[in-house]
Symmetry: C2
């Protein structure tokens, strides 16, 4: 017997077309898309609703929700040195657990079913992921210049061994060297050796700011992408966050090495980092997913906003209204994002794919009239339209209510902890 049948919704099918049909879930898997007459444990009426693959947030620092709205409209280094780093000094493992739960609550309520995280106290993050039911790709952030450099390598290895493929296969572990400017070549060699040993992939920040690229050129005579290539970092399956300041030579390297990109338009706009050459990357055939970055630099984890910004920012930046059309942006927010995280059979509403599904209510005025549903999703929808969310076959958001997280307790915890962390 089927576990769940989603009945009569408008389904974004794997061919990119939206059709009114049914969708059946068996265990953690999509069993069927089409007219379904079989019975099931649960039937959900999806008329007037849009079913899409769950959003994949390819780059965030989940627990930084605790610093949401703490410091904005500042120069990057001032922001880091006077605000974020001192506050992060106060973080405990418990804070990270609750901050991550806050992020997961917000992500589920806005339709995200999978996220890639880089932070610290990562076993606490994995615990939050395991308990909540969401899917995640986790990396212990490592800075070679920090006193914790060697400890971070050891923690990454034990974290990988304990949690990779954990929580019913919902958790994948990557290695997380923070960035070339915090990880010198010798340290990156240790990271690649560990990647080789564990067969783990790598999540890293690359070429986020012009200053960082100029500094790399000055110090090593090459771009961060070229330096990573020389050090062998790109040989292990790399998820590269940002890639704002990349040249056509960089893009050629990225293409050759199958580097996958996490594009974070909201963070890049708010921090004034610049506009990544995403149309060029797409033209080169590079896999580009979307991410929110941390809530301290965004300040939410709303993938619908990133989807919309992706479709709009590149149009105005290139002065080309055809730069990234709605359907391409939706792909980047869903199946391309899953591919960017190296996940198999995630990101499409198709039989044999993981049942990671976001169901949006189309009843509000901004969904009318409905000439084109993907256009409405991209340019008109908002996060609160997300009605029900299914991950790995389990309903985690049911008619706007979280099923695995006690929201009231969560908000009380994070309010208390958030205020404590920023006290001098």
């Amino acid at each position: 017997m089927l576990n769940i049948v989603l009945k009569g919704g408008d389904v974004l099918c794997a061919d990119g077309q939206v059709r009114q049909t049914d969708l059946a879930i068996s265990g953690s898997i999509i069993a069927q898309v089409g007219n379904i007459n079989e019975t099931a444990d649960r039937i959900i009426d999806c008329r007037d609703k849009l079913l899409i693959p769950g959003f994949v947030n390819t780059h965030t620092h989940a627990a930084m929700t605790l610093f949401r709205s703490y410091a904005d409209d500042m120069m990057l280094m001032d922001w880091l040195q006077t605000k974020i780093w001192p506050a992060e000094e106060n973080l405990t493992g418990e804070d990270v657990y609750w901050g991550t739960q806050l992020a997961i609550a917000e992500m589920l309520k806005s339709g995200t079913t999978c996220f890639a995280d880089m932070y610290f106290f990562m076993p606490e993050v994995a615990k939050a992921v395991a308990e909540s039911g969401i899917r995640a790709v986790l990396a212990r952030g490592m800075a070679g210049v920090a006193p914790t450099a060697n400890q971070a390598l050891a923690e990454s290895e034990s974290f990988y061994k304990e949690w990779n493929n954990g929580a019913d296969g919902r958790i994948t572990i990557m290695l997380g060297p923070h960035a070339p400017y915090t990880c010198p070549p010798d340290y990156l060699k240790k990271v690649t050796a560990l990647a080789e040993k564990l067969k783990a992939q790598i999540h890293i920040h690359l070429s986020e700011t012009a200053g960082e690229v100029a500094e790399c050129q000055k110090q090593y005579g090459k771009s961060p992408i070229a330096l990573m290539n020389e050090l062998g970092v790109l040989d292990h399956g790399v998820l590269a966050a940002h890639c704002v300041h990349v040249s056509s030579e960089d893009i050629a390297i990225m293409k050759e090495k199958k580097v996958r990109v996490a594009h974070n338009p909201g963070s890049n706009m708010k921090l004034a980092s610049g506009v990544a050459p995403v149309p060029d990357m797409l033209a080169a055939g590079i896999c580009v997913g979307l991410g929110t970055d941390g809530a301290a630099s965004n300040n939410n984890l709303d993938m619908l906003e990133e989807l919309r910004l992706t479709a709009m920012l590149h149009k105005v930046h290139r002065l080309d209204p055809l730069a990234i059309p709605a359907n391409k942006a939706v792909d980047m927010a869903t199946c391309k994002g899953a591919a960017a995280l190296g996940l198999d059979h995630v990101g499409k509403l198709e039989p044999s794919y993981k049942a990671d599904i976001t169901i949006l209510d189309m009843k509000e005025p901004h969904w009318h009239p409905r000439h084109d549903r993907l256009s409405l999703l991209t340019y008109a929808a908002n996060a609160s339209d997300v009605h029900t969310v299914i991950v790995n076959g389990k309903v985690l958001l049911d008619n706007h209510q979280l099923t695995t997280i006690d929201q009231e307790r969560l908000l009380a915890e994070v309010d208390r902890r958030g205020l404590r962390l920023v006290k001098n």
Copy 2:
């Protein structure tokens, strides 16, 4: 006795600070901000809610909601000539009435209490405004090159006489010459003569695209702003939509003539028009409000999105994270917008101001923790957080429910009409 007391909310006061306090409404006016012990007809519990002046949408074409999602990701002229203009040919007065009601429903539900509109069948628009209870500044769009050129002038005059200061003073009428490229100098002289006669102000599109400015330079040897100045258009109180491609000389003229600007970042991004030099206009002391433009080129009427885009787009465009901070963007979306429309005592939560108030619920995860409420409003909130909306002292949205519009009937009407309009 007071009519309404809003009790214990976090109030964005006229000095820009947020304080937990009470707010009293008497008739259409804010009577008091501070601790209130008097009784009232209605007391609304505003704990855990943020009270801000209602958003002012300084530029839209409300009835174009009917074309929402009909045609996107196209070149501007292709979009207009093959899609929008043929569909507009099919519009009836009744369509415009229902399309405007749809826009008003969406605007109220997302916290907008006043909008500036330019379209046709304007008495139908005024009727929708009068019935719904929202505040509006309306202009009959006029194109001097169209066969309806003289009729539009006559309609503008009768519309002004019938509706200016109508609906309990909620409606103001402006004259709406569409743009310099559709209104030749001789026609604009007739418009300014009518403005002079009626003492009416002017709402016009200026310098939206680079192509339009280049064409104006070629034809008249000057920029659209300079041409308007020469023709006397700027002497009558002008609300200028877009102003994307303006030079420093243009900005000097705008400053001298007290031109007020409707900045539409969402539309400018989606149509790839360019980025308006808003930081320069603000530095020159020009009054800049925010607008959504029509829903065919946005595709929603969500002022929170325009507020966020304003705070984010100019940062990345100038590579300056301090370009437009949250509090300045909030001003542009509220009190500066009211000033841009020439409205008196609208746009602040202060005694003697009109009771146009938007109340946002801060209960969702993306509002936690709360280090800074204006930052949360600007960078994290979404339209569905709008809980209750008051215009001119009347509750028009009550706990997410429209009080003056039958939403179910409305959506059935616009769905039917929207599909009819685009049939070939």
